[in-house]
Structure formats: structure tokens, C-alpha cells
């Protein structure tokens, strides 16, 4: 198949709209064709740039939510009078005291569900955005000709390199006897705070590990280890000793989990 035909498939591949077989075929081609690989990277960058540019572009007025809630409750509002055939007219019976108490309880429960749902969704959206930004950093690192600032497989070289650059320290695992290999690390900034990005190799796949000071917006501590799958990448995040760890890679979830286990064990030492 010619490059022109393969390029028709790149969008579907980046949108996760291909079957596993189609994805494998495209990946094989991208591995051998630098022109199409560059095109795929450019399209991925445009896709990510679009998301960042369009997200939260327009913010509702502070009182809009309240106005809508009031209009929904106000029967005289013309909007409330819009007929909807799927919603049958219902004549309410005269309510007894027990009914009223029951309905009041149900209403309170409904309000609670709405609040909890809204909070959950809001936190979830914020977390998704945070993880998406870190995923973008991982992809950009892989595309860079200088992916790390300190290149070494020796943990005793990489860890000391961060001294004086970060307001905290962390432990790196001993990787002897494991399939993982330390590639190096670099200083990164997230939400105006410095953090460490470490790069690991696993059977020619690159895995990023971000170590940041814990802050709101990433996975809440109470969730413990959380896993995600986003745009074909597996991610795992957890909080330990005031630090937030995020592992991102295109390897299997089990491989990401294995590296996470090694880091968690090192963090407990």
C-alpha cells in the first residue's frame, strides 16, 4: 500500500478508531517510513494543540448555573412549558405526611447524588486534563533528539543529578534482574513547579515516570493506585510520601504495573 493510502488511516489510528489488526499494520508502516511517521507526529501535535486551545475557551458567567436551576424550577418560565411527548402528563395525588417525608428524603438524596456526581465529574475532568498534559510531555520527549538531560543507566548517577534542582528527593529502584533499564532523566515543570521525568527502557519501548510534589487535580490520595488507558498509552499514578508518581508508556498495563511496583518498593525504603 502506498504512503498516500496509509495517510488516510493515520487520523483513525490517532483517534483510536482502528481495529487491533489495522493499528498493527499502521504501526508496522510507521516504523519503516520516516515521512509517514513525521506526518503522524505532526497530526498528533495538531490534535493535542486543538484540545488545549479549545478547552475551557468559553467560561459560563458565574450566575448562569443558578439562573438555569431557577428557570427549571419556575413553572411560569416559558422554557418550562416546552411540551415533550415522551414525558406523560401526570396528576399528582394528595400527599399524606408520610409521603411528604419520604419525598423530602428522596429529594435530599437526589440533590446529594447530583452534587457528588458533579464533584466527581469535575475532579475526573481535571485529572484527565492533567494526565493528558503529562502524556503530551511523554510523547514530546520521545520525539526529541535529546530526550534526557542526564543519560545514564546508573541510578547513583541519575538521582544525584537532581540534587539542588528539586525541593525534594526520591529513591530509584535497583533494576538488576528485571527487564527494565534506566535511560536517564531530566528536569520538567508542571503547573509552575519543578519535577523529575525519568525515562526507562523495556524491550525498546520507552516509559516515562514523572515524580512531582503532590497537588490537587491529580488522582486523589484516597484512590491509591489508579490506572488509566489514554490514546493507546497505559498510565498508572499513585501518591507516596507527599510525592505524586505517574508512569506512562505504550507497553502493556502489566508492564506499567511492574515498573510501578518497583518504584513503590523503592519509595518505601
Amino acid at each position: 500500500m502506498s504512503c498516500e493510502l496509509w495517510r488516510d488511516w493515520i487520523d483513525a489510528y490517532l483517534d483510536d478508531g482502528c481495529t487491533p489488526e489495522e493499528s498493527a499494520g499502521i504501526e508496522d508502516h510507521l516504523n519503516t517510513c520516516t515521512a509517514c511517521a513525521a506526518e503522524a507526529l505532526a497530526r498528533l501535535r495538531l490534535k493535542n494543540a486543538t484540545r488545549i486551545a479549545a478547552a475551557d475557551r468559553f467560561v459560563p458567567a458565574p450566575d448562569l448555573r443558578l439562573r438555569i436551576e431557577q428557570s427549571i424550577q419556575n413553572p411560569r418560565n416559558p422554557i418550562s412549558a416546552i411540551p415533550f411527548v415522551a414525558f406523560p402528563r401526570f396528576k399528582f395525588p394528595v400527599l399524606t405526611k408520610q409521603w411528604k417525608q419520604g419525598l423530602a428524603g428522596a429529594a435530599a438524596a437526589l440533590v446529594l447524588v447530583v452534587i457528588v456526581g458533579s464533584v466527581w465529574w469535575s475532579r475526573s475532568a481535571g485529572r484527565q486534563q492533567a494526565l493528558a498534559q503529562l502524556l503530551d510531555m511523554h510523547v514530546a520527549t520521545l520525539a526529541s533528539s535529546n530526550p534526557v538531560d542526564v543519560a545514564s543507566t546508573d541510578q547513583h548517577t541519575v538521582k544525584p543529578w537532581f540534587e539542588g534542582k528539586l525541593p525534594y528527593t526520591f529513591n530509584l529502584p535497583v533494576l538488576d534482574g528485571t527487564p527494565f533499564k534506566l535511560v536517564g532523566g531530566k528536569l520538567m515543570y508542571y503547573r509552575n513547579r519543578p519535577g523529575a521525568q525519568l525515562l526507562f527502557d523495556l524491550r525498546k519501548h520507552q516509559i516515562s515516570v514523572f515524580i512531582l510534589q503532590d497537588q490537587p487535580g491529580l488522582t486523589p490520595k484516597s484512590l491509591g493506585v489508579a490506572t488509566e488507558r489514554q490514546r493507546g498509552f497505559n498510565e498508572e499514578t499513585w501518591s507516596q510520601a507527599g510525592l505524586r508518581y505517574i508512569v506512562i508508556g505504550d507497553t502493556s498495563a502489566a508492564d506499567v504495573r511492574a515498573l510501578g511496583d518497583l518504584l513503590r518498593a523503592a519509595g518505601r525504603q
Binding site: L46, K47, A49, T50, R57, F58, I68, A86, G117
Partner: protein, 162 residues
């Protein structure tokens, strides 16, 4: 009210007007509340909400006007005189504002499908549900929308150079 900020953002992108977007979001919640029994559990709730929002918009005067170009590729740009792909030479220095302006220039049906896919990260099936179109149409429209966007970005890049 779930998805409130996200729906408002999409409504503004769709209407390009604050007051219209506010009315649209308000009417969407009213209709969603009344029509909730018709929502099928297990299907994408955001896609369902967006479909209500979009159908409501298309019944307004502004929506009818926007819908006129629904099946056309009417994006009048001069293709850049270069062999490079638009993104390669443009994204190295593209600003967020340029992308926003480019999105605003796209016809509504192109803008919304890019936003649903790239911003809302809906899969093709969910986009199809939101827009009431088959998956094949989702893919072809998305392809044309992104091509139009790349051409507009390339034209903007060449305009900036000149």
C-alpha cells in the same frame, strides 16, 4: 447539572455568541430533564446531551443559517505553495490563539466534529450518536474537517510570513 462547563464551552463554540450560548444551554437542560426517560442507560451521556444541544440549536434562526452549509466543503482558502505538510512548518510556532481563530473560521459541521473528537475525546461511535450520523460519515467528515483546518492553518502561516 452534569457537564455544565463543558456544554457551555461547546455551545459557545457552536453559536459564537454569549447570549445565544446561554439560552441554548438553558434549553438543553430543560429538555434533557424532561426527556431523561428516553435516555438509554449505558450509552454515552455527554453524546446524548450534545445531541439535544445541537438539535435545539438547529431549530433556531442562527442554527438554520449554520446548517445550510452542512454538506458542503465550503472553506475558501488558497492552498499554500509549498511541498511541506502544513503542520510540519506551521506547528513549530503556532499559538493557541491562531488555532482558536482557525476553529472559528471553520463551518459549523466541521468545527463541531473536530471538537467532539479532539476536545471531548469521543470515539467515532459516540460522535455518530451525538450528530445522528453513521460512523462512515463521521470518518469522512472528520477527514474533510481536518484537511480544511490544516489548509486554513497553512494559509495563516503564509499570511504571517508575508
Amino acid at each position: 447539572m452534569p457537564h455544565f462547563a463543558s456544554l457551555y464551552n461547546l455551545a459557545f463554540w457552536l453559536t459564537q455568541d454569549r447570549a445565544t450560548a446561554e439560552d441554548l444551554v438553558q434549553e438543553t437542560y430543560v429538555k434533557a430533564l424532561k426527556g431523561f426517560p428516553s435516555y438509554h442507560q449505558g450509552t454515552n451521556f455527554r453524546a446524548w446531551m450534545y445531541r439535544i444541544l445541537r438539535n435545539t440549536f438547529l431549530t433556531t434562526q442562527a442554527g438554520l443559517k449554520a446548517a445550510v452549509s452542512l454538506d458542503s466543503d465550503d472553506v475558501r482558502v488558497v492552498e499554500p505553495a509549498t511541498d511541506q505538510t502544513p503542520e510540519v512548518f506551521f506547528l513549530t510556532r503556532v499559538e493557541q490563539e491562531t488555532i482558536r481563530r482557525t476553529l472559528e473560521k471553520l463551518p459549523m459541521h466541521f468545527r463541531e466534529i473536530i471538537l467532539l473528537c479532539d476536545l471531548e475525546e469521543m470515539n467515532y461511535k459516540e460522535v455518530g450518536l451525538a450528530l445522528s450520523i453513521p460512523i462512515g460519515t463521521v470518518m469522512s467528515r472528520l477527514f474533510r474537517a481536518r484537511k480544511a483546518m490544516r489548509l486554513l492553518l497553512a494559509a495563516a502561516s503564509q499570511g504571517a510570513k508575508a
